[in-house]
């Protein structure tokens, strides 16, 4: 028996949402796109170090999926995490400063691109080891269910979204996480962002049943769905009923989210493993254009308003870069902070990053003062 569904002509739930919701989606996708374009430039300019994996092309997935859940629902992902963090509402300043290696970054500039954590927004990272975030997702879902049902004696109220790349399908951790979620009846949706490649390996070369990965879920008795991730309508329309069902039944679900990354795996990928035509095919049918066109057709967006929006976002991202530029570099003593909670031996205790302090209202609202070092405890 397989519970996999082919892409279906679902009810067009998205089209029934208020236009300003869809305008917000457009804004979120544009923000991610612009952020990533600037990220690539900053990487070339050597303002960003480490390795850097951009999300361009997959914007509809992060935005559409987070739109289908509530803010209280935890999300977790792998290292290609900029899109999820921004879609979840991370201020781009913290994300940019993190990649610039500055103290104002969401991980105090000590991590970089794969370290986008946003506790106030229930975004649990950003994790570098492929597949290893999947059991964490299972644990996040276990925790919400435990709290709701065991500690509060009620019923499940939250759904965890655990994103993974198609490469993660081949890791043992993914399979252990799926089995655990199944056996424990956990409210989690594993969303495989199936962009067809893990680094230079096409899914057909790395994954058995790569053409039909929902068969993996069948092996765990799990409901599954195939969703077209290159259109925010199909993402939302596909995800919303799954999220509702997952919340109601507290049963895990697996999604084969078909998507495409327009750029290379990382910044130094010559992309010899695929053709220019293939890239062109996706890029010419761009996810952002699709939504913008729809909004225009429906009379919810004018060319002028669109241009204005694009400019506004450009300004916002540029401001985030300036903020990141002005944020100080971590002091050398930061090597010894945040390792343990206590101060002992060489260790200097810990303190929350700016992003957490600001959310708690402890931060200073003045832009230029916000980069102040948090050495006060």
């Amino acid at each position: 028996m397989t519970t996999a569904t082919q892409p279906q002509a679902e009810e067009n739930l998205a089209a029934k949402l208020p236009p300003d919701t869809l305008q917000q989606w457009l804004r979120d996708m544009l923000l991610i796109r612009e952020f990533e374009v600037r990220t690539m430039q900053a990487y070339q300019d050597r303002k960003i170090g480490g390795f850097c994996h951009v999300y361009i092309g997959q914007e509809a997935v992060a935005v559409g999926c987070t739109a289908a859940v509530e803010h209280k629902d935890p999300i977790i992902t792998a290292y290609r995490d900029h899109g999820h963090a921004l879609a979840r509402g991370m201020d781009p300043r913290y994300a940019m400063a993190e990649m610039y290696g500055k103290i104002g970054g969401c991980a105090k500039g000590k991590g970089g691109s794969m370290h986008l954590f946003d506790k106030p927004n229930n975004m649990f990272g950003g994790h570098g080891i492929v597949g290893a975030q999947c059991p964490l997702g299972t644990g996040l879902a276990f925790a919400t269910k435990y709290e709701d049902e065991v500690m509060k004696g009620g019923t499940n109220t939250r759904v965890t979204l655990c994103f993974l790349g198609d490469g993660a399908l081949n890791q043992g951790a993914f399979h252990e996480a799926m089995n655990l979620a199944g056996i424990l009846d956990l409210p989690i949706i594993f969303i495989c962002e199936n962009n067809g490649y893990s680094m230079g390996t096409a899914i057909s070369r790395g994954t058995t049943m790569g053409h039909n990965i929902t068969s993996k879920a069948a092996g765990y008795g799990m409901e599954s769905a195939i969703i077209d991730g290159m259109d925010i309508f199909t993402v939302y329309n596909g995800m919303k009923p799954l999220v509702d069902r997952c919340r109601d039944t507290s049963r895990p679900i697996f999604v084969d989210m078909r998507t495409y990354r327009y750029k290379g795996h990382s910044m130094s990928d010559p992309r010899k493993y695929r053709t220019k035509e293939e890239e062109q095919q996706y890029e010419s049918n761009d996810v952002i254009d699709k939504l913008a066109n729809w909004l225009m057709q429906e009379g919810h967006l004018t060319e002028d308003a669109y241009d204005k929006l694009v400019k506004e976002i450009r300004k916002e991202v540029r401001a985030s870069m300036k903020w990141a530029d002005n944020s100080p570099e971590p002091d050398i003593k930061e090597l010894y902070t945040d390792v343990f909670v206590e101060e002992w031996g060489p260790f200097l205790g810990t303190s929350p990053p700016q992003i957490v302090k600001d959310a708690e209202g402890a931060g200073n609202d003045e832009d230029d003062d916000e980069t102040r070092e948090d050495d006060d405890d």
């Binding site: 480490g50 390795f51 490469g167 993660a168 081949n170 043992g172 971590p330 090597l335 060489p346």
Partner: protein, 322 residues
């Protein structure tokens, strides 16, 4: 002779051993047409084909476990793990199977496998791409652990490792993959596992190091007026303690340099062995210049973390002045 980088020397050794012995085969993530993340296996797929240069799924536990099976059943697999930080999923296979198979089967089955792994910091990589876990593997009896610091040694050590009947962790310091070139003989030659190299002789102080910091130590020695003996371990385990002993008995002073965190780093093992063997010859306490007991930081603080020349120079002065 050819003037080669460390990467090229490894590539050459792989070609020659694969030509000489068709039991030798490679497997790993994108090691085929792509040539691996650091292009170490560049050209090998074209030369030997996909049956001997095998692209694998993204699955470290599977790669190493499969390589162990291949080795137990007569082949000479050389799996590649892309970065030392991804050894985690494979750790179980390495330590519960590879390291113990000879002992567990009382010699009936062995694991002649070479695990190639880029190691260490200095290339502006993020967390999990810059660590130095050599001591962790040296702590598991049954695994040999080597780390070349020059193109010449890289080739000779790799050939020894491939021909060795037991599993060898072959760590490649990624910081010096292409940092300099060296004359490397075309013909095959071996460098015995377990033999350190005396890089420069001296009689006032001994420096013991391995991997990329060899370069930093050479700079520190150049900047110093003291007569310093530099030992590049080349093999972490089994360690060539005799060479260290001989040197420290001569100099009476020793500085140990490594990238890994200080606590339980391999330097602790060497310092203790020196104490056991050279106690009455010591003129000063042994000093360690190492990474810190914390996670390798993002690139802005990377050079603060690594044992750079300045810190080594300071240690030299202190130990000599003691």
């Amino acid at each position: 002779m050819a003037n080669l980088t460390l990467v090229q020397a490894i590539n050459l050794a792989l070609i020659q051993e694969m030509e000489a012995d068709d039991r030798v085969m490679l497997l790993g993530e994108d090691v085929g047409p792509n040539g691996g993340v650091f292009r170490v296996t560049d050209g090998l797929h074209a030369r030997f084909g996909g049956d001997r240069v095998v692209d694998t799924p993204l699955a470290e536990s599977g790669i190493i476990g499969t390589a162990i099976g291949l080795a137990m059943n007569g082949l000479r697999p050389i799996p590649e793990i892309q970065f030392e930080g991804f050894l985690g999923p494979a750790y179980d296979q390495l330590t519960t199977h590879a390291a113990r198979m000879r002992t567990r089967t009382r010699g009936a089955f062995t694991v002649p496998m070479v695990v190639r792994v880029p190691i260490g910091g200095g290339i502006h990589a993020p967390e999990l791409h810059s660590d130095s876990p050599e001591a962790i593997y040296a702590h598991h009896p049954g695994l040999k652990v080597v780390m070349p610091a020059s193109p010449y040694d890289a080739k000779g050590l790799l050939i020894s490792a491939i021909r060795d009947p037991d599993p060898v962790m072959y760590f490649e310091p990624k910081r010096i993959y292409r940092a300099f070139r060296e004359e490397v003989p075309e013909d095959e030659y071996t460098i015995p596992i377990g033999e350190a190299r005396v890089v420069s002789e001296g009689d006032e102080l001994t420096i013991v190091t391995w991997g990329a910091p060899v370069v930093q130590c050479m700079k520190a020695i150049e900047n110093s007026e003291k007569s310093i003996e530099l030992i590049d371990l080349r093999t972490i385990y089994p360690v060539d303690i005799d060479t260290i002993e001989e040197s420290v008995k001569k100099t009476g002073r020793c500085v140990i340099v490594h990238e890994a965190p200080k606590t339980c780093g391999f330097g602790a093992e060497i310092a203790t062995s020196i104490m056991e063997r050279c106690f009455l010859h010591l003129e000063a306490p042994v000093q360690r210049v190492t990474g810190f007991d914390t996670v390798m930081p993002y690139y802005k603080l990377e050079l603060e973390y690594l044992p750079e020349t300045e810190r080594i120079s300071r240690a030299i002065e202190e130990v000599v002045a003691y």
